[in-house]
């Protein structure tokens, strides 16, 4: 137990979450070590999105612990979450780009505004990241002028501007047209291939099979099964996971 | 502050409130009829009808209520029409409410998808029955909140009657203040006008609660 604590970047212990009197997370025990790529799967309403949002401090929790490098962070004030969030990037289902800013400003605004980067350095990094996601030349466009897939690629690199240690992806392709899902998944695979610790909530089984080091399967607010993709997709232990896989293939 | 003044004039204020209610109810009813008629006419395909209707609606919406009221009260005699303060106020609010309501109804009708009309036509229904039975019900339900807002304004606008001499709440306040300052000295404007503000405020709360109830009721009957 203590040994694990040292290598886990993020760990949750018995995490519980209520919306009013309605409980949505029933004691989630989870950990991710550096360089790991974990895909969280589960049917809608299983609590997977809520769970990943807890890890970014966007949801309050009512029981258990969230640890970042062994330090409890679940009870931090909003002010203390702020520096942490720069180390834990988050990508949302619906991109959530700032609609009134150009692509370049979307990328540079937060780091420059918060005094973490000089404007020139931020722009340089932004352009390099845009190059990497094949969006060089779009830096002066507004989000509304881009396709959904392009917007999500911008959102991904926006959250990577400050070189986070961990990336959280909350169903990054659910809001996309089928033809653009592939390009976004390829980008995520590329960006995380160099050992960027990442937690990805998705329904894309092919992506999970190819890219995940580990699959975590959630059902009814609990983790009911986890293991390597081969194990999970070929011989899952639980009946729930079996029927989930059957319905998603 | 002198609350006895309010109590002493209880009956006078009640009668004045009665006038306000009469103005409100009469003009709301008339405005509703005008809204439906002109709102519908503003959506007909025939430009010869639609354009003049829309222009009239626009003009009535663009001039201040009080100007319309003065026009009706002071200007109508030139047309051979002599109206008392009460009739003039009711006519003014009816026309103003009718024009604004017509714009709301027009918006509602235009928001009904075109295929509703076409599919009803393919069932062999005539234009008029399609409009009354299919289009209007769908058009009106979503515009209830906007129409409720209009009723709220109409309620507030009953106070304009004071400017042409209807003894509604505001005018009754003015009279009570004048009498009090004549017989007792001082000017109890704060107390009396404050009281009238409170009366309007409470009436507004009651009306909004009523409208919400109505909306819930209609909402329930539409879901099944």
């Amino acid at each position: 137990m203590t040994q694990n604590l040292d290598t886990a970047v993020i760990r949750t212990i018995g995490l519980e979450k209520y919306y009013g009197i309605h409980q949505v997370l029933f004691g989630v025990d989870f950990s991710i070590t550096e360089g790991e790529r974990v895909v969280i799967m589960g049917s809608s309403g299983s609590g997977k999105s809520t769970f990943i949002r807890c890890l970014n401090g966007l949801e309050s929790t009512q029981g258990g612990h969230i640890q970042f490098h062994g330090r409890d962070i679940e009870a931090l004030a909003e002010r203390d979450w702020r520096p942490l969030r720069r180390r834990i990037g988050m990508v949302f289902q619906d991109f959530a780009l700032f609609p009134h800013m150009t692509v370049l400003n979307n990328l540079t605004f937060a780091p420059v505004r918060e005094g973490l980067m000089k404007k020139a350095a931020a722009e340089e990094r932004a352009l390099a990241l845009l190059e990497r996601v094949k969006l060089r030349g779009k830096e002066r466009s507004f989000p509304s002028q881009l396709s959904g897939g392009q917007q999500q690629r911008v959102a991904i690199v926006r959250s990577m501007m400050m070189s986070p240690e961990v990336m959280l992806f909350d169903e990054p392709t659910s809001a996309l047209d089928p033809e653009t899902v592939g390009e976004v998944l390829a980008i995520i695979q590329d960006l995380t291939s160099e050992g960027l610790t990442s937690i990805i909530v998705t329904h894309e089984t092919n992506f999970a099979r190819k890219c995940a080091n580990r699959i975590v399967y959630m059902d009814a607010g609990k983790i009911v099964e986890e293991g390597s993709p081969e194990k999970f997709f070929t011989s899952p232990d639980t009946e729930r996971a079996r029927s989930f896989i059957a319905s998603h293939n | 502050m002198n609350f006895d003044l309010i109590l002493e004039n209880r009956d006078f204020f009640l009668r004045a409130a009665g006038y306000a209610v009469v103005i409100f109810v009469a003009s709301t009813m008339a405005a509703m009829a005008l809204s439906l008629a002109f709102g519908s006419l503003a959506t007909v395909r025939l430009k010869l009808i639609r354009m003049p209707v829309r222009i009239v609606i626009e003009v009535f919406r663009d001039i201040p209520q009080v100007v319309l009221l003065f026009f009706i009260f002071f200007g109508a005699p030139a047309f051979g029409l002599q109206l008392g303060p009460l009739q003039a106020t009711i006519l003014c609010l009816s026309l103003w409410g009718g024009a604004n309501g017509a714009e709301i109804v027009r918006g509602g009708i235009n928001a009904v998808p075109r295929h509703q009309f076409e599919s009803a036509r393919s069932l062999g229904l005539g234009s008029f029955s399609i409009f009354v039975a299919i289009i209007l019900p769908q058009a009106l339900r979503p515009v209830i909140p906007a129409y409720a807002g209009l009723c709220n304004i109409l309620m507030h606008s009953t106070s304009l009657g004071a400017l042409v001499g209807v003894v509604e709440l505001l005018k009754s306040g003015q009279i009570v203040i004048d009498r009090a300052s004549y017989y007792q000295g001082g000017s109890p404007g704060l107390t009396v006008y404050g009281f009238i503000l409170v009366v309007y405020f409470i009436a507004g709360l009651l009306m909004n609660a009523g409208i919400r109830g109505l909306e819930r009721h209609l909402g329930r009957s539409s879901k099944r």
Binding site: G89, F98 | P64, F70, F74, A78, G80, N152, I177, G189
Partner: protein, 223 residues
Amino acid sequence: MTGIAIDWNYFWSVAPLFLRGLELTLVLCLVCNGISIAVAYVLATILYFRTPVLCQLIRAYVSLIRNTPMLVQLFFFYFGLPEIGVAASPLISGIIVLTVWATAYQTENIRGAIEGLPPRLTEAGRSLGLRPGGLFVFVIAPVATRTVVPAMMNTIISATKNSALLSSIGVMELTYVAMDNIAESYRSMENFLALLICYLTIVMGLSAIVTLLERHLGRGYRR
């Protein structure tokens, strides 16, 4: 039916008076709407940050103004407040009441626009580590401003039309000029025609500005 005939000589003779009334109405429109929009942004900011006590006070103020007639508010201020020693000239009273009235509506407009923004916008800002102040000033407020423009212009137009009520306490704006002329000359048609032209020009001018603004703000933004 003789009364309906327009005496054009008279009509043109009162034009200078109307121009002066028009000037005051436009000044009222500019001053009251300008101040009310600026103050409404401040109040909406306080509401957004849920500043205790102030927040409740603002809500009470907005609800009180929006649920009572402006004419009664005007009489309360102009004829009522002298009872406790607060008195101002008709013009100043009119400006104050109209501004206070418009501010309540504009505050509600801005609050509604902010509340209507997708919650994801705030979350995205938070997850990027932006402080609430920067997030509000550079993201929430500008994005809400784009959606609030139609409602805001409606209130501006309503406030401008409501400036006609100030004639009842003796502010010499357009309506006052017209009614004063009628009382003096008994020529109602000419004066009402002039009044109609003035108000239609103002309101249609404002509506044209709305259309232009919407087109401008919509650039590079709308989906």
